[in-house]
């Protein structure tokens, strides 16, 4: 198909070389490279946090790289921004379509295309006509007058693609486009993707579903720890090889060792279902002094389980705490039953940035620092001071506002708060996400300390080495349930990843 003329090679759609990006001292991308040809489907794979989204955000101009080179259709890009990349033909389609639900399909498709046009009037007839043509050009059939909010997820994807085609996109970036689609819808989407490829569109396809990638993609680029480590032809590799490429790293940090003497069962869950958040048939137990790791892909149900246990998305089925059946209907009840929960998103659910360190630490345990209902400032300061020293929170004083601290220290403040309620069972959701290396190993030591003091710890993490290095036992999530529980001796990165991707493991 390529017209190989006197020019030595066709220009690459994208040539990215050694791109780097750090957030607050954390390296999200160390060396991201990608070569994208026109008319190919190029899959981008890697574990959670491998740098896929950082790399794609650089391509769409949402963020600026710290260093490295980026060329789009042979044009060297130094100052990229979303408008610039769009004008070069880059369009992105995300897992959750970004449509306006109260507007019609025609409006959704045409509005962004009309931005360059002059004039202030809207030509409804031609708008509708245009939308219809675009939808037909990709072989779909959706009434342009329908409200976009009434479309199915798959139809919304089609609208997004029509929008991209209308904008004359020549590079299409698809991030987990099938995550919310049924099998039949997925088939249709693939037909559409192949059709676009035949028309010369270059497609970057991000997915966790390896089968999909192997059937659809021409080439595959693998990212690991922020680095591009391989680019291979899809026909030369298989699933096992891909998994090996994604995880095959040495465990970099040394995890603290400890001698575990697990005590009685602290928490036991039998056949828990929470259909509202997609959880089913979940059973596990954690003993005192044990660290139970939970791994799985993002959206497989790990965080949903934590939120269900903690009463944020409550269920009426009881769980068993220290041999006693309890039903937890709200976070307050969870706290009263000795549960602590360090949530995943620090900024959204964790520390209260406007408050001082001391107020943040005592917020869940105000009774401890109150006398007859009145807060005792001196006591509060001394409690906070105690945690500042023991957790090595780097801050000038305990009345410093939490928002002024680094991510790692904010996380320690959040941890201190939960320690202050003296929980018997602690759920930690991504405790080291976005935290610098130094704080990370300190947090690891703290988690070990919790367990040694007899706490039952449930550790959720997307970082496999972290979970494997820290946990006594590991539960693997796939599609809303724990598909396997492994002891730390059995758990290898390959095995865990295969299970997380939904494959059976031979005994």
């Amino acid at each position: 198909m390529q017209n190989v003329s006197s020019n030595s090679a066709p220009p690459l759609a994208i040539a990215a070389k050694s791109l780097t990006k750090s957030y607050a001292g954390v390296r999200a991308l160390r060396s991201g490279s990608l070569e994208l040809l026109p008319g190919e489907v190029h899959a981008l794979i890697g574990e959670n946090g491998a740098g896929k989204s950082t790399l794609t955000k650089i391509i769409t101009g949402a963020i600026h790289p710290d260093s490295g080179e980026l060329e789009i259709f042979g044009q060297r890009i130094t100052e990229n921004d979303p408008n610039r990349s769009r004008s070069l033909g880059v369009a992105a389609i995300y897992q959750q379509p970004t449509i306006f639900p109260h507007l019609t399909v025609a409006e959704n498709i045409c509005m962004p295309l009309e931005r360059e046009k002059s004039g202030i009037t809207v030509d409804w007839r031609s708008r509708k006509q245009r939308a219809k043509e675009l939808i037909q050009s990709i072989g779909a059939n959706i009434d342009p007058d329908r409200l976009a909010g009434t479309l199915s997820m798959a139809e919304q994807q089609v609208v997004e693609i029509a929008k991209a085609i209308g904008a004359k996109a020549r590079i299409l970036l698809m991030d987990e486009p099938t995550a919310l689609l049924s099998e039949r819808e997925t088939e249709k989407l693939f037909a559409l993707v192949r059709r676009l490829r035949a028309e010369g569109v270059a497609i970057i396809y991000i997915s966790h579903r390896l089968e999909e990638i192997l059937t659809l993609a021409d080439r595959i680029t693998v990212l690991r720890d922020g680095e591009t480590i391989a680019c291979c032809n899809a026909c030369d590799v298989d699933r096992a090889k891909l998994i090996e490429l994604m995880v095959g790293r040495s465990i970099e940090s040394v995890f603290p060792k400890r001698s575990v003497v697990p005590g009685e069962v602290a928490i036991e869950v039998r056949g828990l279902n929470n259909p509202e958040v997609g959880l089913h048939d979940i059973s596990f137990s954690v003993r005192k002094g044990e660290i139970f790791g939970l791994v799985g892909l993002v959206g497989s149900g790990r965080t949903e389980l934590a939120r269900t246990l903690f009463g944020i998305t409550p269920v009426h089925t009881p769980i068993i705490l220290y041999g006693r059946e309890v039903t937890i209907g709200s976070p307050a009840e969870a706290i009263a039953n000795g549960l602590g929960y360090l949530p995943e998103d620090r900024r959204q659910h964790g520390v209260i940035l406007d408050m001082s360190i001391a107020s943040n630490i005592t917020l869940a345990s105000l009774n401890e620092v109150a006398k007859r209902g009145l807060l005792d400032s001196a006591r509060e300061q001394s409690v906070a001071e105690g945690y500042r020293t023991s957790l090595r929170i780097k801050a000038p004083a305990t009345d410093t506002v939490a928002g002024a601290l680094s991510g790692g220290n904010q996380q320690k403040v959040a941890l201190a708060r939960w320690l202050a309620i003296k929980p018997g069972i602690m759920i930690l959701d991504e405790p080291t996400q976005g935290v610098d290396v130094g704080s990370k190993s300190e947090i690891h030591e703290l988690i070990v300390e919790f367990a040694e003091r007899g706490m039952a710890v449930i550790l959720i993490s997307s970082e496999l080495p972290e979970v494997l290095g820290m946990s006594d036992r590991i539960g693997v999530f796939h599609n809303g349930t724990i598909v396997a529980t492994l002891s730390w001796e059995e758990a290898t990165q390959q095995k865990v990843m295969s299970l997380a991707f939904g494959h059976e493991v031979e005994a």
């Binding site: 944020i312 976070p331 940035l353 928002g403």
Partner: protein, 314 residues
């Protein structure tokens, strides 16, 4: 010191205005003038305390003026019916608390936006009252009604004591009660507060109920100043109180602010109007200048907030 920068800045502005008045005019610093000014601003001060709580949770209440009008009339009607003045005040406070609770329940449990809820109650209550009273004032009040039968001087001192007490109670309450912490936590990050086991719905409901109570109470305190009660009192009270809270340094999106700041905001906005009159500036400028002060105060908030964000991202 840096923590109180805002309060100090407002206090300095107040001193500047006062110094200007002392240097150039006569008659401002008389007992009569100052006590009139104080009495006229007692309702603003008391309602602002409640408004501070509401704004700390990230909400707003623009119905306080209408609630104030209703409670003023209720005080008068109850007193005219022969009830003792203190009982009349109690009834007015309860009515205020009920109206506030109504707003609060809709905001907290129905999750309706407070600006819409209180806009609706502002209009409904004010026009309901107008229809009920047909614009008539309440007169024929018993002799013991006006100033509780006290002399002007003693009444003024009593108001000073009540205002001071309330300010102290709210300052201490916000700082040293669990409820106070819960208000800050709810306004700063409601999702996080819930995970901490704080019943944020109850917090939201409470701040509206408390503000209603304060509005009713201050309406009764104010009603006894005269021997007749107008049916259209409290117009613009919502603006004055929200402005005072904003000038006092509270962020309108919730989570930060102090009672001290609000008190200073009430003082600054309270003296600026009369000060202009004394300085010979046309009264027509009063509102424009108040508006500029509010704009300046909010700009400072936004800028300092922006700077802090920059620091924490570095």
């Amino acid at each position: 010191m840096k923590a109180y920068a805002r309060e100090l800045a407002v206090a300095a502005t107040i001193l500047l205005v006062l110094a200007l008045l002392a240097a150039t005019t006569h008659g401002f610093f008389t007992v009569d003038n100052l006590s009139d000014l104080f009495l006229a601003n007692v309702p603003v001060l008391i309602v602002s305390l409640g408004m501070t709580l509401i704004i700390l949770t990230g909400q707003i209440d623009i119905s306080v003026g209408s609630v104030f009008a209703v409670c003023s009339i209720v005080t008068g009607v109850a007193a005219r019916a022969g009830l003792p003045v203190l009982v009349a005040m109690l009834i007015a406070s309860v009515v205020g608390a009920l109206l506030g609770s109504f707003n609060g329940a809709l905001v907290a449990w129905m999750r309706m936006p407070s600006i819409v809820v209180t806009l609706a109650s502002m209009v409904a209550i004010r026009d309901g009252l107008r229809w009920q009273t047909q614009g008539a004032w309440v007169g024929d009040l018993p002799g013991s009604f006006q100033r509780f039968g006290l002399s002007q001087a003693i009444y003024t001192v009593l108001m000073l004591v009540i205002a001071a007490l309330l300010v102290v109670v709210f300052t201490v309450g916000l700082r040293y009660f669990r409820g106070g912490r819960n208000i800050f936590a709810t306004g700063s990050n409601e999702a996080a507060a819930r995970i901490l086991g704080i019943d944020t719905n109850r917090v939201l409901f409470s701040v509206f109920a408390i503000t209603g109570l304060l509005t009713g109470f201050s309406a009764a305190l104010n009603a006894v100043r005269f021997n007749q009660i107008p049916s259209n009192s409290g117009i613009g009270l919502e603006l004055k109180t929200i402005a005072a809270v904003a000038v006092g340094g509270a962020t309108i999106t919730g989570g930060s602010g102090t009672i001290a700041g609000t008190v200073l905001g009430v003082v600054l906005l309270g003296i600026i109007g009369p000060a202009l009159t004394f300085l010979g500036v046309s009264a027509y400028w009063e509102r424009a200048i108040q508006g500029l002060i509010i704009l300046a105060a909010v700009s400072v908030n936004v800028l300092s907030h922006y700077r802090r964000r920059q620091v924490s991202h570095a």
